[in-house]
Amino acid sequence: MTNLAISVSNLTKIFTDNKAVNALNLDVKEGEIMALLGPNGAGKSTTIRVLSTLSGFDEGEVHVGGVDIDRDPETVRRTIGVVAQQTGVEYFMTGRENMMVQGRLYKMKKADILARIDELAHYFELDKSIDRLVTTYSGGMRRKLDIATALIHRPKILYLDEPTLGLDIHSRKLLWKYIDELNKKFGLTILLTTHYLEEADSLSHRVAIINEGQIQIIGTSDELKNSIHGDSVVISFDDVNDKEKAFAEALKQSGQVSDILWDGNNLHLYVDNGASSVPPIMEQAAKDDIHVKTLSLARPTLDDVFLKYTGTSMLDTGEEETEEWWHQWAGKDGGKGNWKGNKWVNADGSQKGEWEDSEEWQGNDWVNPDGTAKETAPTTDTDPAADDSWQGNDWVNKDGQQKGDWGDSSNWQGNEWVDNEGKPKQDWSGTEQQAGSAEQNSNTPIDDGTTDTAETAAATPKDGDWKGNEWVKKDGQQQGDWGDSSDWKGNEWVDANGKPKSDWKK
């Protein structure tokens, strides 16, 4: 039996009202990179916190480096290096000072710390900036310093909680290289959490998909992909109604496909032979009078595995719902509630209050309670607008005619917005979560190359979609109302009277 660096059995951690981790079992072998992949709130971070002695737990047994974490946390702390989600480095100290303090906390000798700092600074290519204040560092440099600081005491096991969250693609790739080398050269056991599929796929030896506080499946990423037989066909529709649902069911009944999974307006079909299964599917669609927007065929990816075991696509998990501080001050229900139509309802479904008038949106008209239109939006017919689409970076009519061009020829390239010389206009990394997910769209080999920009845009990690000029949730519910009845017309933003509000080209 190989030695286990981490052994977790039956770990349960209960927060006041829910089980963040529920009877979780996990073994990590020495010298292995293990990725915990899961949506937000799946229990990844809680697990890491327990494993790094920051959190207690309610049930189960945890051994790190062969030591019972409950009995001897001090020894465990000496064995592990922890890089948390937030960079815990002090901004008003230099990189060297940061590492010095951390080394001191591990009771290391000064000379030893200094030697180790030089070694790590060199390794992470921070030699030049190590004596500069951290305030002058870039996000990627801070992350590197953070990891270097966590390695100061030569731990055998390293935890990385979302190590590349919010980093731009370049820094991310660089960090992967470092992490990979740490493992290969120094035999460091690494446990990392991530919600980037590509990260888990390319970096780790084994992937554990975690959801609702439990490991759903564990294995190498190839094993996971092979657990889904055959190929995956993804069909996306403009709209999902009974017709489409019946179509999917019929396909399953007929035995043409082995499994179906819905993900918003996308239908994932798993078939034995992708290429030969597409024509009959399309024939069936034509017969049922179903409009297929896009169809792509691919080998199953980790996203398919993820979808199968967590019920959500990885691409949908970009947005994190955070517990707001004011919830605990906002009454018994914690101020939780939601918009439902134009009413704000409490979490228990009771209505909190109502707007003074009960006008509503109907199509793109704002109507009075009696159904009379208050004002007619300039594009009274939603259909033509809905059929326009993005093509590359042009907004085109149904007939493919270009409506207008944007003022400059900048473009999206990966996750950067570049101008026509290909120079990045601005770095996207400031927007953390969003950026990461957006990037995922463009970099993860989720779909094969057949999907066009429009498709990728539709797959942004939101729980809704544009429908004509309205943003609707997955369940077809309208997300919110725009304040006025102005509208896009071609590439001009017009007000209710159809007068252009401002020219876009300026």
Binding site: E74, R78, A84, V101
Partner: protein, 250 residues
């Protein structure tokens, strides 16, 4: 534990010394009070030795302590959310040292501020003692009170977990504490109920003790009594803050 405290304390001092302006900002209010109050009340408040300036300087010193150390908890919350605290906690660091280094840092900062106040007071004609031994003894009370309030602030920070209510408590606390004591007005001037309220106010004893040792004639017995009370106050609040911090492990 002591070496952990020392290294962490050093870290905080390094950071503070990098931006000395921050600690100077908290000085503005006490300085304004020193100048305004001395001018405003000096003419009609009768004090035992007749010099209102001398009477209120100890009050201002203690006020500086309050303003200076009551924010220690806010920075603790910032550190918690920035992940700095976690970074300490994953290391084999004594948990006591984390709290201790914070309150020590806060108290030392307060000492530096009170020295500035003293210099200003002397330059404004106060006849507060310049005897180094008396000054040192007076500053021990300042230091202990600084520890006490910084510990309170840290303790509240951990129990409340939110910055907003903490700031609110800090604000609500400061003024009544100052006025329910003999910081600005001699006890004889106070209505009886405020006199009663002042007996449970640590600020009263701190002001009394500092005044007993820093103004002539010195009253060493009174100082010793007040010193003991403030020492107990500092120890109790510190113990509370440490136990709250230890319970932080969720």
């Amino acid at each position: 534990m002591l070496s952990d405290t020392w290294h962490l304390f050093n870290k905080y001092m390094t950071i503070t010394l990098r931006m000395p302006l921050w600690s100077l900002f908290t000085l503005i209010q006490p300085l304004l009070w020193l100048i305004i109050f001395a001018q405003l009340f000096g003419s009609f408040v009768q004090t035992s030795n007749g010099n209102y300036m001398d009477f209120m300087v100890p009050g201002i010193l203690i006020m500086t302590v309050l303003f200076g150390s009551s924010w220690s908890g806010v920075s603790l919350l910032r550190e918690i959310s920035a992940g700095t605290v976690d970074k300490m906690l994953v290391a084999p660091v004594s948990r006591v040292a984390i709290v201790l280094s914070r309150v020590m840092h806060s108290a030392i900062q307060v000492i530096a501020q009170t020295i500035i106040i003293l210099v200003v007071a002397w330059s404004m004609g106060s006849t507060i003692t310049m005897n180094p031994i008396y000054l040192f003894l007076g500053l021990t009370i300042v230091f202990l009170l600084g520890i006490g309030f910084a510990a309170l602030s840290n303790g509240f920070a951990i129990t409340l977990q939110r910055e907003e209510p903490l700031v609110m408590i800090g604000n609500l606390m400061t003024l009544p504490l100052m006025f329910f004591s003999s910081a600005f007005v001699p006890k004889e001037f106070m209505p009886t109920w405020i006199q009663y309220a002042s007996t449970i106010n640590p600020i009263s004893y701190a002001v009394e003790g500092v005044r007993a040792i820093m103004t002539t004639p010195q009253d060493l017995t009174l100082f010793a009594k007040d010193f003991a009370i403030i020492l107990v106050f500092a120890m109790v609040t510190l113990a509370w803050a440490v136990s709250a911090f230890k319970a932080l492990r969720d």
